[in-house]
Amino acid sequence: EDQVTQSPEALRLQEGESSSLNCSYTVSGLRGLFWYRQDPGKGPEFLFTLYSAGEEKEKERLKATLTKKESFLHITAPKPEDSATYLCAAQTGANNLFFGTGTRLTVIP
């Protein structure tokens, strides 16, 4: 069964304290691994797409990496404005997109 699991469910960091969020996937034929950011009361906002193991992408304080079994979202020196829920999703077909349940990140000033 195709499945995406994110950990931890929630993460509290001090401002400047770097950490990583995990997205483990068990799917047949990965076409792309997506990361989205979701703020309270808003829809998910696209961050990155990773296509193959070994690929890395960066945006400001965020860096996403991909292996054959999992993806990590590394947050370097986070700021309070990075507080949000981060979702990952694995695409296996044209309309087959499996979402994880998200990691709720809180960055404390």
């Binding site: 995406v4 076409r31 792309g32 997506f34 009361g41 808003k42 829809g43 998910p44 906002e45 696209f46 797409t49 296509y51 979702l87 999703a89 695409q91 044209a94 309309n95 997109l97 499996f98 979402f99 994880g100 349940t101 998200g102």
Partner: protein
């Protein structure tokens, strides 16, 4: 560009009532989707459309209906509301179904059925 616009933002329904959730996009995307998001669960696909006049079921279609008469609009209809349909509903669109075409989401409709 407004992107994907959903209305209403909030709605409370009584069991058995009907309503339509509206979704419009101004990006000329052919592909549109309806998802529901429940606490502790990942987003689940309800219905999708690959273009005007063409719709298909997703993972959790029971209790819902859709139509796509124009490229811009993709309304979701609840005919007989049930408590199990209490959720946050997100509409999304994309340029294509390839992995190089991420979803653009609206800001959701929070629906409570009592």
């Amino acid at each position: 560009n407004a992107g994907v616009t959903q209305t209403p933002k909030f709605r409370i329904l009584k069991i058995g009532q009907s309503m339509t959730l509206q979704c419009a996009q101004d990006m000329n995307h052919n592909y549109m989707y309806w998802y529901r998001q429940d606490p502790g669960m990942g987003l689940k696909l309800i219905y999708y459309s690959v273009g005007a006049g063409i719709t298909d079921k997703g993972e959790v279609p029971n209790g819902y209906n859709v139509s796509r008469s124009t490229t811009e609009d993709f309304p979701l209809r609840l005919e007989l509301a049930a408590p199990s349909q209490t959720s946050v509903y997100f509409c999304a669109s994309s340029y294509s179904t390839g992995a190089n075409s991420p979803l653009h989401f609206g800001n959701g409709t929070r629906l409570t059925v009592t």
